[in-house]
Amino acid sequence: MAPLRNITILGGGTSGWMAAAALSRAFAPGTCTIRLIESEEIGIVGVGEATLPQVRDFNTWLGLDEAEFMRATNATFKLGIEFRGWGASQSYHHPFGVHGQSAGGIPFHQLWLKARTFMDPGPIEDYAFPIRLARENRFDFPVEDPKSIRSTYDYAYHFDAVLYARYLRQWCEARGVQRIEGQVTGVDQNAETGFVERLTLASGGSVDGDLFIDCSGFRAVIAGQALNLGWEDWTPWLPCDRALAVPCERTDDLTPYTRATAREAGWTWRIPLQHRTGNGYVFSSRFSTEDRAREVLLGALDAPAQAEPRLLRFQAGRRTASWHRNVIALGLASGFLEPLESTSIYLSQIALTFLMRLMPDTRFDPALAREFNRLIDIEYERVRDFLILHYHANSASEGPLWDYVRTMPVPDSLREKMALFRHRGYVQRYKDGLFSPASWIAVFMGQDVMPAAFDPQADGLGEDGIRDYLKRLKRKIDANLAVLPSHADFVAGHCYDPDSGVTHD
């Protein structure tokens, strides 16, 4: 075997520094040179980033101290996402957790559906501990004991992605990763093999490598501009192609969740950080002008804006092969799915997980790239379907964008999923890829995709059994909820840094 000795990463955003961190963790000190090229001149996407619980696995694997990392990145806790204006109820939560608690293997929502046939059980969200926690702006860590209601959820973070990249950079540089300041102006490929051999810089120098990781964002300097790797456009399903982002002052209540509010030509995000709130409006240029979008965004803020809104352009889709020869595209260079379900850091992270598992040597066996691309495809397609569901099943918003997405043809995989849920509340579990049945159930129910009937397995408990079970569950949730601290207090005690969050703009 001829192991990799020299890896070059292009781009120093979140995915670039995550890649550098993962690789320097994977290779023993001194065995592989890891270099990252970035330019201070190029802006970094990301004003307040919402994450998924998986990011904790990444941090834990690196050995980061949670409180220190949170202080350094202005971070708060996240229990899920509140969706406003996507369904008849005006507000529903997609929690990192489940509705109810296990009842002999029968999914909770089936018991609730059955309960509705003989009593008024109230909203299903009343039975979800993480949702109740979020709505009351409380936070505490989950516990492991499966008997406790406090084991029914997980958590992630909101943080400043620029600070996260900077924090990882320090971590990487302390472990020998070399940072090269510069702009890439050329990509040299071997004339015979097509393998990339070096990147030339504006300064005149060049950087070689055995493996190149393209984290240059939408520009995809290596994978797109130089290699011209194919791109599959998903705009017909996900028409939003612009975002305006702006920070505003923090409000008194620190919500332990992201908010995504449906608007006339897209949706706005609200991400609470320790010192300020990140906001943005994801919209479709087909259905809104930039001026109108700016008005909508500024009108949506719940505190004074701290800067002028910044415009980002993108296109939903993914590269048909993220790994080609000795180039791997990561992050936005590999695909883009709007942040409606906070998946962007996850998608970089899972790609790195696959790379760790399929680490090539200098022969670059094509079987490795093929498997990597197969797994990435599954990830992107499953997230894509889930995002399309939000738009397609939106039962509340009005306007030409919403008329379009409600009537557009959706992928067969999604259509079948919706039909089975409408028929009987069934959600098939899959092994690879994001979003467990609990997530699908939360969004289906939140957006009024209501099953016509329940699963007959729910008969097993009997009417009295269900009545009793729901009563006890509610009591358990109430009792546990009352003793937990507010999110603001918890952050203040755990990881508050009065000086962070003001170090960049």
Partner: protein
């Protein structure tokens, strides 16, 4: 899709025989006891052969728990035994037997899976077999049973299956089903009544007509009901799985009692010994191209080195599958997929079909659930089939026509893909619907000598002395656990008292 508008499912008719019929009836009746459903079991004459055994994987236990069948009772009343895996003998000439068990092997270091560490150490001279780092294989070799008292946390994940004597097991399930209120109608044979894409009734041999909204076919490979439905033609897997005869017989119980099945290859097939408390069951799989039934019987006794009961039965079979759910008829077990007996895959196939049916039990005769059901179970059956084709393809019995062919044939695409990747880098891709876990696939490949060309580069970063220490600690742990485990005879004696 249907001729008449869908109507709610109320009357469920299960037609079949033996364990497939009664397991299905018992589980469905138990799960839907409070639903507005009635279950009728139409029992056809048994096809069980004397001395027949049902080998299972560890998934069986949760079904038993669901039915309220206690393990101790099962062992005591039926004379069932535990199995920790399979020992393959003669898969390569002059090579030691290979054990593929239901447990993990070794322990990862710094997220580097153990088999990569083993591959690295092997490249620098380690001679300890891969299976020696597996708790199930070590217990099996030393004649010890891995009990629930074993201290596994952090070191190993282990499971165990059963060898179940088929006749008393089926009888026990029948009792459970009938006690729970399943209506029982014996019949010598049945004639299905199909109108368009729906089955409306079955007419029993005594002339009685049994109507139903939903029909479940557990009749075995003839698929008496399902085969009458549209688009349920049989897709043969014979080009991958050429064996077409199963010989069943039995011999005296083995002492001491082994905790595994022994599968011995011979020129025209293989002979499996499945130890039970009161007898040793024998299954022999072979091809009629090479062996007459009499020759097969002689071969069985010779290969297994036991004195066989002359009451041997030969059953022809052809591996393959058909669409499991068509209209209002659903096939379970052999009615949906006939698997080769290798690797004890038949019972888990039945169980998966049944549990997926429980999760998708149709609300009406429209069969909206059938597309997802068919796709899922077809994947499960195909992955089980792939596991068997893998085992066969890993043989090294050169110059024996059947085995040469099994070794050199082109593989189903999903299997070819995973083997190609594993051979390249030691990583085993896993698909959505797998019965055998990653540990099993890797153990099967490495045990049978399919060694990857490369291993995870991170394995090289662990200092040699640390790696040696790690191997020693794993072996030490395995040894210590094995010593504390009882022999199966001791457990069996304790259970009989």
């Amino acid at each position: 899709m249907t001729d008449a508008p869908p109507r709610p499912v109320r009357k469920v008719v299960i037609v079949g025989r033996d364990e497939a019929l009664w397991l299905t009836a018992a589980v469905l009746q138990r799960t839907f006891a409070r639903s507005d459903l009635s279950f009728t079991a139409v029992e056809l004459p048994s096809l069980l052969r004397p001395g027949e055994v049902l080998p299972t994987l560890d998934s069986q236990a949760s079904f038993h728990a669901q039915l309220g069948l206690e393990e101790e009772v099962l062992m005591r009343a039926l004379g069932a035994t535990f199995t920790l895996g399979q020992q393959y003998v003669g898969w390569a000439k002059n090579a030691p037997p290979v054990f593929v068990g239901y447990s993990s092997t070794g322990v990862a270091v710094q997220n580097v899976p153990f088999h990569h560490l083993w591959l690295r150490a092997r490249a620098s001279g380690l001679s300890v077999a891969y299976e020696d780092f597996a708790i199930n294989a070590a217990c099996a070799k030393h004649g010890r049973l891995l009990t629930r008292e074993a201290e596994l946390s952090g070191f190993a994940e282990a499971g165990r299956g059963y060898h179940l004597p088929a006749a008393p097991y089926g009888e026990m399930l029948r009792q459970v089903a009938l006690k729970r209120g399943v209506r029982h109608l014996p019949a010598a044979h049945v004639s299905p009544v199909v109108q368009g894409a729906q089955m409306s009734a079955v007419v029993l041999s005594d002339g009685q007509t049994v109507e139903g909204d939903l029909f479940i076919d557990t009749t075995g490979s003839e698929a008496r009901l399902l085969s009458q439905m549209p688009e349920t033609g049989f897709t043969s897997w014979r080009h991958w799985l050429p064996f077409d005869r199963l010989l069943t017989s039995y011999a005296a119980p083995a002492t001491p009692l082994p905790v595994f099945a022994q599968i011995t290859a011979f020129r025209s097939g293989w002979t499996g010994l499945f130890p039970l408390r009161d007898y040793t069951a024998l299954q022999q799989v072979y091809t009629t191209d090479e062996l007459s039934d009499d020759e097969a019987f002689e071969a069985a006794a010779t290969v297994a080195r036991v004195s066989l009961n002359p009451q041997a039965t030969v059953t022809p079979f052809e591996a393959g599958q058909r669409r499991a759910w068509s209209g209002n008829v659903i096939g379970l077990g052999d009615a949906a997929a006939v698997l080769d007996p290798l690797g004890s895959a038949r019972m888990p196939a039945l169980l998966f079909g049944l549990s997926h049916l429980t999760a998708l039990f149709p609300l009406d005769t429209g069969g909206l659930e059938s597309a997802v059901y068919n796709r899922t179970v077809a994947q499960v059956y195909a992955r089980l089939r792939d596991a068997q084709i893998l085992l066969y393809s890993l043989n090294k019995r050169r110059d024996q026509p059947v085995w040469d062919r099994l070794r050199s044939q082109s593989l189903p695409p999903e299997l070819a893909y995973r083997l190609e990747l594993f051979s390249a880098c030691g990583h085993m891709p896993m698909y959505d619907e797998e019965t055998f876990d990653e540990a099993w696939w890797i153990a099967a490949c490495l045990g049978h000598g399919r060694l990857p060309a490369a291993y995870d580069v991170r394995a090289d970063q662990i200092a040699e002395p640390d790696l040696i220490r790690h191997f020693q600690s794993v072996l030490g742990y395995v040894r210590k656990q094995v010593e504390t485990m009882p022999t199966p005879d001791a457990v069996s004696r304790a259970a009989t008292v």
